[in-house]
């Protein structure tokens, strides 16, 4: 091939490179912002429990156990979609799931759980959303997997699907549970 012929291929090569990059870009979800919290200790908090407002919960209570924090609210439509998946998760693994009831009202939150069932060991009330900010929450629902040392190992933004549970969350939890015992 002469150098002239090569030059005619340059636009084609550029086009293919661009198409590949744009194609890959289509598969990315802009809502998934990598969290700086993964691999770090859980942000501490002490919040009143939803059903027992005079009792507080703090992550220290679960030190030494693998647990899941799920951020939810009764006003959040996607949480409704996710709810059955969460119930399925706790049905299959004895992992502790804590609910962070984010910017919600207590009566509506309780009503929601009574209607749809309660997969949470307990829920805590973050009415102002301050703990949400500390945990970097920006798209409810969000799900965090925390290991026995209190390190966040995984964060999922948006509703978890049964595929997410099957392929990522459950294997990770089982893995962490094995390494604990």
């Amino acid at each position: 091939m002469t150098s002239k012929a090569v030059r005619y291929f340059i636009p084609l090569v550029v086009f293919i490179a661009l198409a590949v990059f744009l194609g890959l870009g289509l598969k990315l979800d802009p809502r998934h912002v990598p969290s700086p919290l993964v691999g770090k200790r859980v942000p501490e908090f002490s919040l009143p429990r939803l059903f027992y407002p005079d009792k507080a919960f703090t992550p220290v209570d679960l030190q030494g156990r693998v647990w899941v924090l799920n951020v939810w609210a009764s006003w959040c439509v996607a949480c409704r979609e996710e709810h059955d998946v969460l119930k399925d998760l706790v049905g299959r693994n004895p992992v502790t799931v804590i609910g962070l009831n984010y910017k919600d009202t207590v009566t509506e939150a309780i009503q929601w759980l009574e209607q749809l069932g309660n997969p949470y060991e307990l829920s805590v009330v973050d009415a102002e959303g301050q703990v949400g900010i500390d945990w970097g929450v920006y798209g409810v629902p969000e799900t965090f997997v925390i290991d026995h040392e209190g390190i966040i190992r995984y964060k999922h933004i948006g509703p978890i699907s049964s595929t997410d549970v099957e392929k990522t969350i459950l294997p990770l939890i089982e893995d962490l549970q094995r390494s604990t015992s």
């Binding site: 802009p30 809502r31 912002v33 990598p34 969290s35 700086p36 919290l37 910017k103 959303g129 900010i133 500390d134 945990w135 970097g136 920006y138 798209g139």
Partner: protein
């Protein structure tokens, strides 16, 4: 007619989202604090509506983060402290001016690299054109041209 136009214009302006955003009335201790606040919420990005900054966004989270920024400024935090606070929680994504890192090198240098490539192509094209031989006419063609020009 004029009245109608004024009303239409007013309605249109109110439909513009930026008029609605940032409705909080805030009290600052100094002009300097207010300037810093406005600068920060311009530079921090809203995570919910990702192409807006905190100042423009109506999202609940943006409102909370504006409030947080305000409180921190009032409490005497420096700009770096506030930015660090946001980055610790939401990552570099909250910054419209991300720091230069290995993962952001392309972002920062990309435009300049493209500019250099453009300049190089331009220089080459201009040089090529300059080196092209100037078209010359043979004696015969020259006479034909003269004839054509003086035909009438």
């Amino acid at each position: 007619m004029k009245k109608l136009m004024v009303v239409t214009f007013a309605v249109l302006i109110c439909c513009c989202p930026s008029v609605w955003a940032k409705v909080e009335v805030l009290q600052f201790d100094s002009v300097e604090q207010e300037r810093r606040y406005n600068q920060l919420i311009e530079e921090l990005r809203c995570l919910v509506c990702q192409n807006q900054n905190l100042a423009d966004s109506n999202a609940d989270l943006a409102k909370d983060l504006r409030e947080k920024t305000y409180q921190m400024i009032k409490a005497g935090s420096s700009n770096e402290e506030i930015v660090d606070y946001m980055v610790d929680r939401y990552g570099d994504f909250v910054l419209y001016r991300p720091p230069v890192k290995l993962s952001t090198v392309i972002l920062w240098t990309g435009p300049f690299v493209l500019l250099l490539i453009g300049l190089w192509v331009l220089v080459r094209l201009v040089r090529q054109r300059r080196n092209q031989p100037v078209a010359t006419l043979s004696q015969e063609q020259h006479e034909q041209a003269q004839r054509l020009l003086h035909e009438d």
